[in-house]
């Protein structure tokens, strides 16, 4: 009887780990509580499948072009996790803060597809995808500049072109774009001096 209880307790404790294992595209984001205390603005979003369904239901009821575009993007997504911190002055976070995330992106399957580094401004954006054959199981974005750190993890299948087209909707201003799309194969590194 006691052995059964211990086994049951162990199984219950292992459930979160199993959940992570079931979703290879999900990163274990570290606890950024210390950063959020220093930040002038912070965004902490964790949308699991049930919350995504809830949000999708509300968006579907809007019945407009924007909501159709959003629903088109989130089809196949099983989770969205965002941590974003904006600081009043530079140097409030260290590279150590993102090392544990970058270490997970070295795991098999994860591929850096594009990264831009502006050495003058100290900005960098790295985009990784987790590929499983022709399927994308996850996306990770690490964007860092001296006053801002953003980590985005999207679990599931995502169309980057569709996601990019969402900019300018929901009141977000568009930036001047000249590119038609992100590179489909291989990785691209852009460095600006």
């Amino acid at each position: 009887m006691r052995l059964r209880s211990i086994t049951l307790a162990c199984a219950l404790l292992a459930l979160p780990a199993l959940a992570f294992a079931a979703d290879p595209g999900r990163l274990q984001l570290p606890d950024f509580t210390a950063l959020s205390k220093k930040a002038s603005q912070s965004v902490d979003i964790s949308l699991d499948p049930s919350l995504l369904r809830l949000a999708s239901g509300v968006i579907s009821s809007d019945n407009d072009a924007d909501s159709a575009a959003v629903n088109g993007v989130i089809q196949g997504i099983r989770g969205i996790y965002v941590r974003s911190y904006t600081f009043d002055k530079p140097g409030e976070y260290s590279t150590e803060d993102v090392k544990s995330v970058e270490a997970q992106l070295l795991a098999p399957g994860w591929q850096p597809i594009v990264s831009t580094h502006d050495l003058k401004k100290g900005n960098k954006v790295d985009i990784y995808v987790l590929r499983n054959g022709n399927r994308t199981d996850g996306l990770a974005i690490i964007a860092a500049d001296p006053r801002e750190l953003t980590i985005v993890n999207i679990v599931g299948s995502i169309d980057l072109a569709k996601l990019a087209r969402l900019q300018g909707q929901f009141g977000v201003p568009k930036i001047g774009l000249t590119a038609n799309g992100t590179p489909q194969n291989g990785s691209v590194t852009v460095q600006t001096h």
């Binding site: 965004v43 979003i45 949308l47 919350l51 995504l52 809830l54 949000a55 999708s56 239901g57 509300v58 968006i59 959003v70 993007v73 989130i74 969205i80 965002v82 974003s84 594009v114 990264s115 831009t116 502006d118 954006v125 985009i127 996306l139 974005i141 964007a143 953003t150 985005v152 999207i154 980057l160 996601l163 990019a164 087209r165 969402l166 900019q167 929901f170 977000v172 568009k174 930036i175 001047g176 774009l177 000249t178 590119a179 799309g181 992100t182 590179p183 691209v188 852009v190 600006t192």
Partner: protein
């Protein structure tokens, strides 16, 4: 005639005790009334209270669900905006690197 009438009147108005079982009869009557109240009104009042409570709980749950759904919607749009912004920053940088004159 007058005497007879007076006697009849005195007889009719003579002091008379309530009887030994008066209190018992009053109490029994009261108990009967309470029983009627209990049997008819109490279940109805209880049912009304339960229906009202269930309704209130459901209303509150619905309000909470709606608030949760709206919050999830706002978070989803914010998350997609942040992701979209960063992808477009990279796209712009790639495009600029490919064609610096653009």
């Amino acid at each position: 005639m007058s005497d007879e009438f007076e006697k009849a009147l005195q007889s009719a108005l003579r002091r008379q005790g309530p009887g030994e079982d008066f209190s018992a009869r009053v109490v029994a009557r009261l108990d009967g009334t309470r029983g009627v109240f209990r049997s008819r009104w109490l279940p109805a009042a209880l049912a009304a209270c339960i229906i009202a409570a269930v309704g209130l709980v459901q209303m509150r749950q619905h309000a909470l669900d709606t608030a949760r759904a709206n919050q999830a919607r706002a978070q989803l749009l914010q998350a997609l905006s942040i992701a979209s912004d960063n992808i477009n920053i990279v796209r712009a940088a790639v495009a600029h690197a490919e064609n610096p004159n653009s």
